[in-house]
Symmetry: C5
Subunit: 368 residues, 5 copies
């Protein structure tokens, strides 16, 4: 049963969201055709929009993409947040309304797209991954895309629920700098929330590693290689999500584009530091896990040693004694010792001497 669970968990991590059907479907279409490659079960698509500037705030929530008809204008920042990517027709409409490059929506819907930042003439396109542990404590990946225009930010998420409530609160109550800055600062705020959330993942990983480390250090009678391998896969998964993100944040900090202001880039530099910190911690975890593997193999070897010692001690003590007992069980017509008075007791005496001498020998060899 446990094996089964472990297995399915492992497979989930290996699969990497690529299924043959999706690939086949892609092969038969021209580049730029929008195909949703994620979990088809996620049907619901919802949309919520913030429109704000220093003095003004408007919040709206819609159940269907088509209902959204608001125009963005120069004076306010519009944050269009879309949950669910399965409605590819609506996505294509949005792409047309905002005059996005044909390849953008393909990457938005392609949930196996790796994190990247693409610079187009009048918009920036950012893809990254959100990590979270689900109810079964399995690590899951959510595909998130940001499209940053001059006065708007479109945020597209695979599932409902996100970690942007802090940002929303700050917009609603005009806390911090978000209301007085442009869409570029909002982009920063959203990415900051995501990267801050990585620290929670990191912390949960840390707990798991610690727990396993505890087990390995205290109860070395088990083989933990399966647990270690699974943990290693989770670390690799996190690494895969965060590594290209470094590149993205770095590009965002360096990009020379009217869409991102210099003063926002100072904040992005801080984001970059956090990304590096997550990466370094993950690297330390990789080292730690390699250490656990070493520990585990040494434990196995050591256990075998212990088993061997018990066998050797018992065999080494009793085999010669059994031989001697065999000697006096022989039926030779004349065995003088057998006729000795109290010979039996002398025999036992010899046995005890052998027994004690062996113990002393093993004591000296530090086997006992």
């Amino acid at each position: 049963m446990i094996r089964k669970k472990i297995k399915s968990k492992v497979n989930a991590l290996v699969r990497n969201n690529i299924t043959r059907e999706t690939v086949k479907e892609k092969l038969s279409h021209a580049p730029g055709h929008v195909i949703y490659t994620g979990n088809k079960a996620q049907k619901a698509v919802s949309i919520d929009v913030f429109d704000y500037n220093d003095d003004y705030l408007d919040e709206e929530t819609l159940a269907r993409l088509e209902e959204y008809h608001k125009d963005t204008d120069e004076k306010t920042v519009t944050w269009i947040n879309i949950n669910g990517l399965s409605d590819t027709v609506a996505l294509t409409q949005i792409a047309e309304r905002y005059k996005l490059h044909p390849l953008v929506m393909e990457d938005v819907a392609n949930t196996s797209q790796r994190p990247k930042l693409d610079e187009y003439s009048d918009h920036l396109f950012i893809v990254f991954k959100m990590l979270y542990y689900d109810d079964q404590n399995q690590l899951n990946v959510e595909h998130i895309s940001l499209i940053l225009g001059k006065t708007y930010l479109i945020c597209l998420q695979e599932y409902d629920g996100d970690v942007f409530d802090g940002v929303r609160e700050r917009i609603r109550h005009a806390k911090g700098r978000v209301r007085s800055n442009g869409a570029d600062y909002l982009t920063y705020a959203i990415m900051d929330a995501v990267i801050d959330h990585y620290f929670i993942i990191i912390e949960q990983l840390s707990n798991k590693i610690e727990e396993l480390e505890d087990k390995i250090y205290t109860d070395n009678s088990q083989n933990y290689s399966q647990e270690i391998q699974i943990l290693k896969k989770e670390v690799i998964q996190v690494r895969r999500s965060i590594f290209p993100l470094r590149e993205v944040v770095n590009k965002l900090e360096k990009v020379e584009n009217h869409l991102v202001l210099k003063k926002t880039q100072v904040f992005v530099r801080d984001l970059y530091d956090h990304t590096i910190q997550v990466i370094e911690t993950v690297e330390v975890y990789r080292d730690t896990i390699a250490g656990l593997m070493d520990m585990n193999s040494t434990n196995i070897a050591n256990r075998m040693n212990e088993v061997m010692k018990v066998l050797t001690i018992i065999a080494t003590i009793f085999i010669p004694m059994t031989f001697l007992a065999g000697i006096y069980g022989m039926n030779f017509e004349h065995i003088p010792e057998l006729a000795i008075k109290d010979g039996y007791y002398y025999f036992w005496g010899a046995m005890i001497v052998i027994f004690v001498a062996s113990l002393v020998y093993f004591k000296r060899k530090k086997w006992l």
Copy 2:
């Protein structure tokens, strides 16, 4: 039998298409001499030509290269697709007609040539590899060359059959952007089809790894090192084909040449992303396979442990008991215990005590 199959499979992967005869032949010729180094059995050579622009389409298929005499002109894009590289004379003629650099056709016919992009004054030369699993589920490599001129694209393939049917359909039915763009966009469309196909290979590799992982995790009584090694070799093979492709696509994106338009290069950037994604997945597979190897060795060590435990338990329990039985089989004239009434039953009692005590001991040591 299985060994035999495994062996030949492995050798096929190692051989890498270099045979001494081919090398010797090459040594005795000047550079630029066209020698076909591939599978000589592939005799048939066929050619099909698309000639199109926005309003016009002409499709032609020929059995022999010499039959092709169409001229390319400025107003249409001509896609000349050649299957089979064994007719080196015809290849040389084509090279002359299109004024290709002398080394181009040598590399077209040299099936062990690694992926590359060479820039000449009036044509680009691209070499890459197509991967596919054949009927025996063995990974095979097809050598494909593209020669991109101002108004033509020559595509040379080692074998019949390809993954470009999607592209052909789009040309025939004027779907997507291909008809309204030049030969550079066609180049992109063809490479996109190849790289999309890599995802199928990746997915099949993923299935194989998953299957083997399943086996290793559930039935750890086998040694899977041969299977792991073979899988590792396949991953290395894919890696070898895709790694230099990254360089090729990167050059194509960056190349400053009148043959490739800026607007096409935006699409090539997307291609580059896909290449990186394949490479990253392959790297994860390498890690996974390294993990499987670790699992496998730990399993072997663990199995030995288990074997040792059984031996040690049996020996540790019965060796002392056998000694005691030997004691009362001795022929000393006076052994008081032998005369005790019910001594035999007391002896059995002692045996059972030893037996149970040993079991308790092993239980505590967690060997049972």
Copy 3:
């Protein structure tokens, strides 16, 4: 008991100061909000100020940050040294008074911030780590920040006590170049003291490695893998602190900024050399520790070999002899040897021959 200690030590090293509460707290605040993430027990905050130039010196110590009201002026260098980061309100006040960038104080209070150098228009911000062994001989990390302005240097430390007494002495007694140079030289002097202190850490690590090496080389009957793992973690910890410091020092040497004079940067180049030297030594330790692991596993394998040899020698000698004793214990009606006069002695002779022959055999195999 020992296990327990080892465990807690290990966990401490793994934890890396990130706790879920802190992360959660951060998630709900805007970037730039100052939250102290370190050990909350460190309540006391104190401040000491040096104000000096070539001819003038003023030293002041205050128990609370608010009490400090001195202005910095152009003619003197002011070194403001703050111990304890828990008073985030006071930190924010300082940030305001010195017109620091909003993110600076967040990083000052965030004790898990990795070493970095940020360049702002009128101040440089440097973060690094101080390492020390505490009373329980555990490796600890102190978070130190430097803010270098034109005429002032603010130094913020997590705990009381530092390694800057040498610098203070030199200021008080006008030794060396510190009094006749600006705040940039003071920055250099402080970082030099910290990096010199790393050599003490390095030396203590060296002693620990040497000690463990000694044990492994002389008493190979133990399994030292836990000790090795712990040492490895300490080395990783030091590496984590010093590696980004290289980057910081390098930036400081290269920075083109009116705050740092060229003649000071010549000194910083020397600092860089020292940093490299620490890093190289740490790398050698990593190699050494890898060597110890190899030694340890070989020792375990070798020990098993020895155990096996004893078992094999005893079993190989006595099992055949026991068989022969069994032979003459059989109850066949007619066993001619049993009736031979002195047969029992001949039997013993045969036993001794077997025994000696076995010993000679093992001697030749070099098992004895």
Copy 4:
């Protein structure tokens, strides 16, 4: 005997042509002093000269370097090929005649010089290595130097015999482009011949690896670690020769110098591709050999497992049975079973039950 051969072979590979005498001799001389560091036994020095242009060809062979007095002139390309480097006096004379830099001839005669390309004002100096398997199937290295002037190419080889016969034929029969091009194209043609020859080495290595792989996969009862180590050393040797050659060819392609024409550099780019291909193949061999090592250790571990299983099965079955036989060999006055009619047959029945039950148990454990 086999060991001896293996040993000497290994040492030959390790020695790397550095002997203390040679080093000592070098230490006592000024830089630029020409000392032959190769095999002193190679005494004979011969020289052959090709003088050609499009219309003209002159071929000459001399036994001693001093006999050569021909002048190079602007109108023809002169290829001076020298076999044997032991006549250091003659080498110095050549250096003087062609006004070579003092260090050039030192490197020509220093057979342990690594591949490199040095650019002087009026000549290019190229050093590389030729690999070949000798009669004892040992990998040998020949030191080859090229000195490229405006109208001449001096080629200096350590031993007689080379792979340039193809080039000579092409010059003699005016095949290919060599006669109509300058000394730079000749340089390319010679290096091309050498790099093409590497493919033969690669192919022989491939055969050896395949053979060993065969053995390891089919007969896993042997320890192949020595064979693997020797193969690994050969691969390292090839790697050492080819790796710096990449750098040389790359420099030759990029060099901006009147000695090398742009149109020749297009060919050199192709050479570079071949070098990369050799390097990549060698890297794959390294991976393959690492895989063989893994296979070999797993085989050893697995073999031990098998040995253990046999022991455990035999011991586990017979030890309890021996104990029971011992029970009924005891001399207790009253053992009821002994008096049972057909008790002996019941005993045998019990033995068979134990035997079969054990077999079933092991079958289930998959040990049989």
Copy 5:
């Protein structure tokens, strides 16, 4: 005893010349303060001076630094060679006389300073390491500094005795180019002598490796892990000295400074090649040593295999036979075989059959 020697040798290599006292002493002084960190036992300080140009030569030897009062002038090159660094007062005086940067003498006296090249306005400062094997065949490191001015070269060595006698001879007898070139060429000549000397170290390492390789390949009954570890440490030590030297030589070749002439840099390029060659050889040794480790562990595993086989063969043959002997030693009232005439001989026949059958079985399993 051997252990003790090995240990002390290892520690010596680990210690790396850093002692706590020295570090503490440094901590309490300002940067630039000259502290000798080497072996305090080396008390004697001597100085010898060469003053030369094309036509003139003056050689002088002094026992104390203070005695040297010669002025350097424009027309001659002055080589001031100082042996012994313990007289820090004299070093400071020299620094003042030649107007050296304050940090230079600190690094001269700091024997743990890593190799580097620092460029100051009117002098170059070069630090590197000289390696030698002492009488106890231990690898030692000597700290050497060069200070190159316009007309002088100051060479500071830790101990008496060096490898510069060849250079001195060439100056005395006006051999080679040294007399007709400036101080920059002398610098080159001295570094060339040092790097040539590395080849002797390399050759001795090669011999040691060869010797150990011999032992491991021929006598695989020993555990050589300690010897391998020590050799590995020596290789690491050489690597640590030579690796940064590459950087130094590279800088010297590239430096744009009036102190180093272009024509001298051509020679330095050659030096660079030699450095690379040493580094590559050391890298090969690292690989070789890794191979030896693998061999050693495989040998240990293999030895255990052999031990196991002997045990298994003996046990597998005799345990069933002992059981059968036990059978006929039972006291059942009715055991029909016992009464069979010649039953005893039939029994022996059965024993021989079992024995031979077992041998055949093991022969087939290739255990014999």
